[in-house]
């Protein structure tokens, strides 16, 4: 909302906060005197001080814990992921061994409390982990992200204690991964128009329909499936269900042959009279759309982090090459054309990173974070495509061949602008939030 992010003198702070409070107050209702509006401002000031301190220091330098985590994930990505990423991509191989190792490290369930087998850390830690891992292998990054944000996320937020025991604990070790089934062949962005149906028959739910573009599905042991329980209620008639995999009535379509992130499996999920116990309903009946949207809000931070990792890897590749490649008698790093490209790439990447960290920290502080998350995902995905595009340009011919990873980064980056909310949807979300702030 309004936190003062400039200097940290108390007077400046008071001035900023009081100005902001005044603006909000003016915008919210009729003009009252400033003195009357001061007490809500005091509360706001207290909140802002608390939040402001944390956000300032964290944006300038990460806390030690997070630095250690980042370094560990970076080491793992450099030693275990980067060397095999090319092969994994070429052969479309699911990195089962790496996923198990990451599970043992706690990375497959970062936010899950220790009592359920997770690492019990915050979303900023998760974002750092996904970024560093994606820098090594973007496919592994998305597998980690989907398991954390899209599968464990909703169960953690909306599941009963019993559901958490059954559907979370086995999915923290890397032995099992989950997936998230919202999109359908007939609707992606138009999530409210779900045509997969769920009807109650005795003590079972019976699901029918097809879900499309489901990441992880060929390697998953469970899915969060969204289906309409009351077509007349439109999007308020959608509910979320937990479906084990494999399961009678559930089959998988052919693995999609994708442009990038090829080590992760993507396919249709086909439900034909798929019967699940009543207890597999996640949250309340009709809550599905809300669960979906809230989950995607968080998932956006994960995908933004993946995009950052891809962009960083592409920048690393380009900058390293610029030092080594000589043309016109000197390393191309001396040429301003290359320098300007690298500068633009670095700025795009760093600004997207700060947006992502901010979104993660807002979520950790339990503040509204939809706008920040949408901005992060938009900025990071567009940064990833921009940086990887320019990286190929810097590498020239070498960027076009599989000998260098630049072409893989280019292919991997492209999907980040599409899944978990297209860039167009992100813009709608952001515009919506911005306009709300200026509500007449």
């Amino acid at each position: 909302m309004f936190v003062s992010r400039r200097g940290f003198s108390t007077t400046a702070f008071l001035r900023d906060t009081t100005v902001c409070c005044k603006q909000i107050h003016e915008s919210q209702c009729n003009q009252t005197t400033f003195i009357h509006s001061f007490s809500p401002c005091l509360l706001a000031l207290a909140m802002a001080v608390n939040y402001g301190t944390r956000s300032l220091t964290q944006l300038a330098e990460l806390p030690e814990l997070h630095q250690m985590l980042r370094q560990t994930c970076r080491d793992y990505a450099e030693k275990e992921l980067a060397p095999v990423a090319g092969q994994l991509d070429k052969n479309h191989t699911f990195p089962a061994k790496q996923v198990r190792e990451l599970g043992a490290m706690g990375v497959m369930a970062v936010e899950v409390p220790e009592s359920l087998g997770g690492a019990g850390m915050d979303y900023l830690a998760y974002s750092l982990a996904v970024e560093e891992l994606s820098r090594g292998c973007a496919s592994t990054g998305v597998i980690v992200s989907v398991n954390n944000s899209l599968y464990l996320g909703p169960v953690l937020a909306f599941g009963t204690e019993e559901q958490k025991q059954q559907w979370i604990s086995p999915f923290t070790t890397g032995e099992k991964v989950g997936c998230f089934a919202l999109s359908e062949p007939g609707n992606g962005s138009d999530a409210g128009a779900a045509s997969t149906l769920a009807r109650q028959e005795g003590d079972e739910w019976v699901l029918n329909g097809t879900k499309a573009w489901i990441t992880n599905c060929w390697d998953a042991s469970a899915a969060v499936v969204f289906a309409t329980t009351d077509k007349s209620l439109k999007h308020k008639g959608i509910s979320a269900f937990l479906v084990p995999m494999p399961h009678p009535g559930l089959s998988l379509g052919k693995k999609e042959d994708k442009l990038g992130i090829r080590a992760s499996s993507t396919a249709n999920l086909i439900l034909e009279d798929c019967r699940i116990p009543l207890g597999n309903l996640l949250g309340q009946r009709g809550m599905g759309f809300k669960i979906g949207m809230q989950t995607l809000d968080s998932g956006r931070i994960g995908i933004a982090s993946q995009a950052l990792g891809i962009a960083q890897a592409a920048l690393d590749c380009a900058a390293d090459y610029a030092h080594k490649r000589t043309a016109f008698g000197a390393p191309i790093a001396r040429l301003q054309a290359i320098q300007f490209k690298l500068a633009d790439m670095a700025v795009a990447l760093e600004s997207a990173r700060l947006l992502t960290w901010k979104a993660a920290m807002l979520r950790d502080a339990k503040k509204p974070y939809s706008k920040a998350a949408a901005m992060a995902k938009l900025a990071a995905s567009e940064a990833a495509t921009f940086v990887s595009h320019q990286a190929i340009q810097v590498l020239g011919g070498m960027g076009y061949v599989t000998d260098m990873p630049a072409e893989r980064h280019y292919r991997d980056a492209r999907i980040t602008e599409i899944y978990e909310g297209t860039s167009e949807i992100q813009r709608l979300v952001i515009a919506n939030q911005v306009l709300k702030e200026y509500q007449q």
């Binding site: 030690e64 814990l65 250690m68 985590l69 370094q71 560990t72 080491d75 793992y76 190792e101 043992a104 490290m105 706690g106 990375v107 970062v110 220790e114 690492a119 019990g120 850390m121 830690a125 982990a129």
Partner: protein
């Protein structure tokens, strides 16, 4: 059964960094350069933690000598499974001239103070390649030593150590207390898990001054000059064997 293990960890310039010599040739550039734990020290920590997991030792204590920054290195050891850390504060000129002799004196004093019965160190540091600290520490304590260890097994109150030597592998049996230095093939260090990184924050690091241990840090060595290795020259092609022999004689090689 060794109750307490002391593991020495050294903060060195990361192995992947390209080293540059300072313009005044007094040393290498360390400002703003990425540092990390010496790889052989990582192997030493891993071995100590494994001994603890096998319940052959009760406590693993990580020790590092240096300025404030070495606390990061100690925390990494804690995240790998060490129980607590000791930071021996050495900074400025003392730190620049800190070498195996002083460190071994510090470790010997600490071993007595902490009543450690096993010291595990890396065989050498990748910055100075001295390969002396372990041996000196053992001598100062009058303890047996198992250096270049590629395998360590506890057998009652003795240690069986398989050492990598030029001729192959040598197996020795030494009494505890002892000093062991880790070689490359001793083990593969683990990645710190997130829960362990969190736990590391709560583990204690005590600060100690060398003076408290009665150690004199004066160095017997003085670094005169540091130079880059000579640039590799291009080779010369010759037509016949006679030419080759002639060139070699010219160069004074034969």
């Amino acid at each position: 059964m060794a109750a307490r293990v002391l593991v020495g960890v050294k903060r060195v310039i990361d192995y992947a960094v390209k080293i540059r010599v300072k313009p005044d040739n007094t040393g290498v550039v360390t400002d703003g350069v990425k540092h990390s734990m010496n790889p052989f020290c990582e192997i030493a920590v891993e071995e100590a933690v494994r001994l603890k997991e096998k319940k052959l030792v009760k406590e693993v204590v990580a020790v590092s000598c240096g300025p404030q920054q070495v606390q990061e290195t100690i925390r990494t050891a804690l995240a790998m499974g060490a129980d607590r850390g000791i930071h021996v504060e050495v900074s400025g000129k003392d730190y620049d001239s800190l070498g195996p002799l002083q460190v071994s004196k510090i470790l010997a004093a600490l071993a007595k103070k902490e009543e450690a019965s096993l010291i595990i160190l890396g065989k050498q540091a990748i910055d100075d390649d001295c390969n002396q600290t372990g041996q000196m520490t053992a001598a100062l304590l009058d303890w047996p030593q198992g250096t270049f260890a590629s395998e360590v097994a506890v057998e009652g109150d003795k240690l069986k150590v398989i050492r990598e030597v030029d001729g192959g592998l040598e197996t020795i049996k030494i009494n505890l207390p002892a000093v062991v230095t880790a070689d490359l093939r001793l083990n593969t260090p683990r990645y710190a898990t997130l829960p362990n990184i969190m736990k590391a924050k709560k583990k204690k690091i005590t600060n100690v001054k060398p003076g408290d241990l009665g150690v004199d840090l004066t160095s017997r060595l003085e670094v005169l000059r540091v130079d880059e290795p000579p640039q590799r020259q291009a080779g010369v092609k010759v037509e016949t064997v006679e030419d080759l022999v002639g060139k070699l004689k010219e160069a004074g090689r034969i």
